[in-house]
Structure formats: structure tokens, C-alpha cells
């Protein structure tokens, strides 16, 4: 399932997008600023619990999606932890390599851990938005905060076309494969080239067709649509404010070194 499908069936889908952003975005800033592992874990846990318990995403699905950034994180932070120096005594573990030594230092490990947990916390916040808010709803809420209409229309059209192009590309590729288009290197290159050029022609045609179809329904330069069910759920602002305030207190305490 794609993230968007998860979002479409989320139990929090009907909550007005603004509130979800208000809930999930400030903790990112706090986690980045506090730079503390326990605080990052707190945010990570809170968002995970919100996604699974409130949003109704199966824990297994959530974990599977977490693996995606986790892979990047491990590789990225490993690079931070590893260091090189002429003096082997600075390292916790090390191995000689040519004239120097390569290994991990205590400070390197600490830094890597901080980085890793901050990133995880931020990712979990963004996932909260992604798992509960379909792209379309998000686009609409951007209008409320003053993003230009043109930009939003573009975003939503791109969103629709991404799936259309992706679908077409995979159909062409399947058709090519079924006629042995990818058996051997030369054939693969040829098939790929024709796939790309076909896709380009297809996009040009499709955009023209769409324009005509839109004109037939009275398009005059501005896309106006009506969102389903105007009664989005409005959770209590006080509740969100309370959570954010509590998080902020913990963040300040963590930043000023009261814990850890």
C-alpha cells in the first residue's frame, strides 16, 4: 500500500489538516534544537503511538515504512561515527590502515547517536502527517496558510500525473518485457530508450487531451473544485497546545542539560 492509501483510510483523515500540522511540525523543530537522545525518543514514541493507536495503522505496516529511512540513517550515521587518526589511543575500537588508524571514537559514537535519533524523531513527525493526510487535503490546507493557488493546483495536477505516468511506464515496460525487450544489454538499452521517448510523447498528448476535456467542463484558467464533506473534525486546540507545551518544557530541560 502506498502512503496515500494509508492516509485515505486513516481514522484521523477527517481531522482538519491544519491541526495535524500543528501537532506534528513543532516537535521537529524542538527535536532538532534540543539535540538530546531521550527527547528525540520521546517524540519518536509519541508520533509512533499517534500513528498506530489514533490513526489505526497496523504496527507492522508502520515499521515497514520506517525501515526505508532507517536504511539511509544507518549508512549516514556510520560515516559520522568512523574517524581516522595517527594515534590509536583515541579510539574505542580501531584497526591500522596504512600509516594511520581507522576506528570509532567515543565522541563520534555520541554524535552519531544524537544525529540518528534526531533524524528518526523528525521522520516520525513527517510520517504522522503522511499517514493521516491525503495529498489532496494537504494541498487544500496550503491555501489556508496563503500558498498561491497556482502552486497548489500544480502540486495536485503533478500528484495525479505521477500516477498516470507511472502506470503508463509500467504498462509499456511490461509489454516490452513480454516481447523479450529486456533480454540482453543491447535490447535493454533500446527498449529503455523507446520507453522514455514514448513516455514523453504520451505526456504531451495526454496534457493536450486533458486540457480539452477540462475546457469542455468550463475551465477558464483557474481550477475550482469543492472538497467532499465540509465538516472536517476540529479537535480541541487546547489539547494540542497542552501537548506542545509539555514537549517544549521537556525540550528546554533536555537542552539545558537537566537530563542526559
Amino acid at each position: 500500500m502506498t502512503l496515500d492509501e494509508h492516509a485515505a483510510r486513516s481514522r484521523l483523515r477527517d481531522v482538519a489538516p491544519g491541526f495535524k500540522l500543528l501537532y506534528a511540525l513543532p516537535p521537529i523543530a524542538m527535536a532538532l534544537w534540543a539535540n538530546s537522545v531521550p527527547f528525540s525518543l520521546l517524540v519518536f514514541g509519541l508520533m509512533g503511538a499517534s500513528i498506530v493507536l489514533k490513526g489505526g495503522v497496523r504496527p507492522a505496516d508502520y515499521l515497514r515504512w520506517l525501515l526505508l529511512p532507517a536504511g539511509f540513517l544507518v549508512i549516514g550515521t556510520a560515516a559520522v561515527a568512523v574517524d581516522m587518526s595517527a594515534h590509536p589511543e583515541t579510539f574505542v575500537v580501531s584497526a591500522p590502515l596504512g600509516g594511520a588508524n581507522i576506528g570509532v571514537t567515543a565522541t563520534g559514537v555520541a554524535m552519531a547517536a544524537h544525529l540518528c535519533f534526531r533524524a528518526l524523531a523528525s521522520v516520525s513527525c513527517l510520517y504522522f502527517v503522511a499517514f493521516t493526510t491525503p495529498v489532496a487535503d494537504l494541498g487544500r490546507s496550503m491555501a489556508a496558510v496563503g500558498v498561491p493557488a497556482l502552486f497548489i493546483e500544480m502540486t495536485l495536477l503533478v500528484y495525479r500525473f505521477v500516477f498516470l505516468l507511472f502506470g503508463t511506464a509500467s504498462e509499456i515496460a511490461t509489454a516490452q518485457r513480454s516481447r523479450l525487450g529486456y533480454a540482453g544489454t543491447a535490447a535493454s538499452f533500446r527498449s529503455l530508450a523507446s520507453l522514455a521517448s514514448n513516455l514523453f510523447v504520451f505526456s504531451a498528448r495526454r496534457s493536450e487531451e486533458l486540457y480539452v476535456a477540462m475546457e469542455c467542463r468550463g475551465y477558464d484558467g483557474a481550477i475550482r473544485v469543492l472538497a467532499p464533506s465540509s465538516g472536517a473534525r476540529q479537535p480541541s486546540l487546547a489539547g494540542i497546545a497542552l501537548v506542545e507545551a509539555a514537549l517544549l518544557c521537556v525540550a528546554i530541560a533536555a537542552h539545558s542539560g537537566r537530563f542526559f
Partner: protein, 288 residues
């Protein structure tokens, strides 16, 4: 009896930018308040004709008239035309663009500038009619082909045009869905007097749901008239790459090859039953 013509073409010739002649001297009248079938093989020019009724494909020569007026191809004229003449395209992906079903259906209505409660009422009614009410909040891309087709139809129906152009509305639908859509279009035409033009290959559907028919081949009109009289021109149908409805074919074979003495022909099951009952009665009378 003859209702006035709402759409008319006069020596219409249309050429695609790549030089393909899509319509080659078409003279055709569409009567108001009737369902007209547009028949013809692949590439006959059915879609092109529908596009020219909507002002999308402009004539190279000849003209298209809506009511008594020739089409006005200025931006304002086209806008006015398209409020009255709605088109549902052959390929639903060409028509659906919004990020959810509900929003897509709302698009045309928002452009008409209707007040919101009226818009919502019409969207709900249209979704109910074509049977996509439970898909309202879904994004468009994961829908099945038939579902997309229904959504595309709902988006145009909601605008309540006085002429509805349908390009193969039943292609790709399951048999029940296809019958349902056609029955529903028929009802709409009966209740609100809507004029409907359907391009189709589904010859079985024609005697059931259409009043008039037009047979096309290579950009030209071979036949135009009542559906019942169309089936008397079998050679024309074959020339256009079409065939008779199965029932008519069966009755034809029974009378020409198997020596049945049938009191007439029929296109539909109910027509065939009438004939067979008549035959039975005759036999009973003769047997006595």
C-alpha cells in the same frame, strides 16, 4: 412527429493536424429529445464527429449548427456551447484530473458558478445515479477502468447539459453495468428530454435504447434514420464493419437457411418472442 434538429452538420469536413481526414462531407441531423446511435468500425470517425459537435475539432470546410446558429468558435462562444453540450470521452483517464472522485465531479459545477448547496446536491445526485457514491473520497488513480468511466459520466451529468455526447459509454463495463448505464441514460432522456448521442460498437444495445442511428464509414455517413429501418440495410452495416444483433441474425438464418416461415423480423428478445408467439398461434389455428 419530427422533433426539431438540435445539432446539424452541413458538408462537414474535418482534418486532423497530421493530415488524416476524419470527416469527409458529413450531412447529419441530430433530433432534439432523442437518443441517436453513432455506429461504425474503428477509425470510422465517430469520436471525431462528437468532438466537432463540441467545437473541439474545427471544420476545414462545411459547418456545424447548434439549434439554428452555426457554432461560434470564439472563447466565449465555446464556453456557452459547452454548457449546453456535454461530452464524455472514450478514455476516462483523459478526463479525470482531480485528486478525489468528489472533487472531480464538482469541477464542472464550480465552473458553472452555482451556489454551494446546489452544487453539493447535484454531485450527490449524480454519484447516486451512476453508482459511485461510496467512492466519493477515493483518489482517482486506483479506480478500475469501469469505475473511472462512471465517474467521468457523473462529472458531465451533474452539469445537466441539454445535449449529452457519449463516446463508447459501455466499452469496458461489465454487462450489467453496461445495461444499467444505458437504461439510465434512456430514463434521463425520457424524464428530462435530454438529447443523447452515443458512439458505440455495441450493436445489441441499439434497438433496445436508441431511437435513431447513423452508420459511418471512413469519415462518411452511409445511413441515417430510424433504428428499425437501419436493420433493413444489412449490406450497409456489413460495409461499415458491423453486424446484425444476434437475435436478428438468428431469425434471418432460420428463415433463409432452415425454411422457417416467420411472420416478420425482430432485433430484440421481446420482439422475437412476439414473432414466435404469433407463429405458434398460426400453427394452432392451422392445426385445428
Amino acid at each position: 412527429m419530427a422533433s426539431p434538429d438540435i445539432l446539424r452538420t452541413e458538408a462537414l469536413r474535418c482534418v486532423w493536424p497530421d493530415g488524416t481526414v476524419a470527416l469527409d462531407g458529413v450531412d447529419l441531423s441530430i433530433r432534439a429529445g432523442e437518443v441517436t446511435a453513432l455506429l461504425g468500425g474503428n477509425g470510422a470517425g465517430k469520436s471525431s464527429l462528437l468532438l466537432s459537435f463540441n467545437g473541439i475539432l474545427k471544420p476545414r470546410s462545411g459547418r456545424v449548427l447548434f439549434g439554428e446558429e452555426p457554432l461560434d468558435y470564439s472563447a466565449k462562444g465555446l464556453k456557452a456551447l459547452r454548457q449546453k453540450v456535454g461530452i464524455v470521452f472514450q478514455n476516462p483517464d483523459a478526463q479525470l484530473f482531480a485528486s478525489s472522485v468528489y472533487e472531480d465531479i464538482s469541477f464542472g459545477l464550480c465552473n458553472l458558478g452555482l451556489p454551494e448547496p446546489e452544487t453539493r446536491r447535484r454531485i450527490d445526485a449524480a454519484m447516486e445515479l451512476v453508482g459511485v457514491a461510496e467512492l466519493a473520497r477515493k483518489p482517482v488513480h486506483p479506480l478500475s477502468f469501469g469505475q473511472k468511466k462512471r465517474v467521468a459520466l457523473a462529472g458531465v451529468l451533474a452539469m445537466e447539459p441539454s445535449v449529452l455526447l457519449l463516446d463508447e459509454p459501455t466499452a469496458g463495463l461489465d454487462p450489467q453495468g453496461a445495461d444499467g448505464i444505458m437504461r439510465f441514460i434512456r430514463e434521463l432522456q425520457r424524464s428530462s428530454g435530454m438529447t443523447v448521442v452515443v458512439a458505440t460498437h455495441d450493436i445489441e444495445m441499439v434497438p433496445l435504447f436508441c431511437d435513431r442511428a447513423c452508420v459511418m464509414d471512413r469519415g462518411q455517413v452511409l445511413f441515417e434514420g430510424e433504428v428499425t429501418s437501419m436493420f433493413e440495410h444489412r449490406d450497409l452495416l456489413r460495409q461499415a464493419g458491423l453486424r446484425l444483433p444476434r437475435i436478428a441474425h438468428l431469425l434471418e438464418i432460420l428463415s433463409t437457411k432452415d425454411g422457417f416461415d416467420l411472420p416478420g423480423t425482430a432485433m430484440t428478445i421481446s420482439g422475437a418472442r412476439k414473432i414466435l408467439k404469433l407463429m405458434k398461434e398460426e400453427q394452432e389455428i392451422n392445426g385445428k
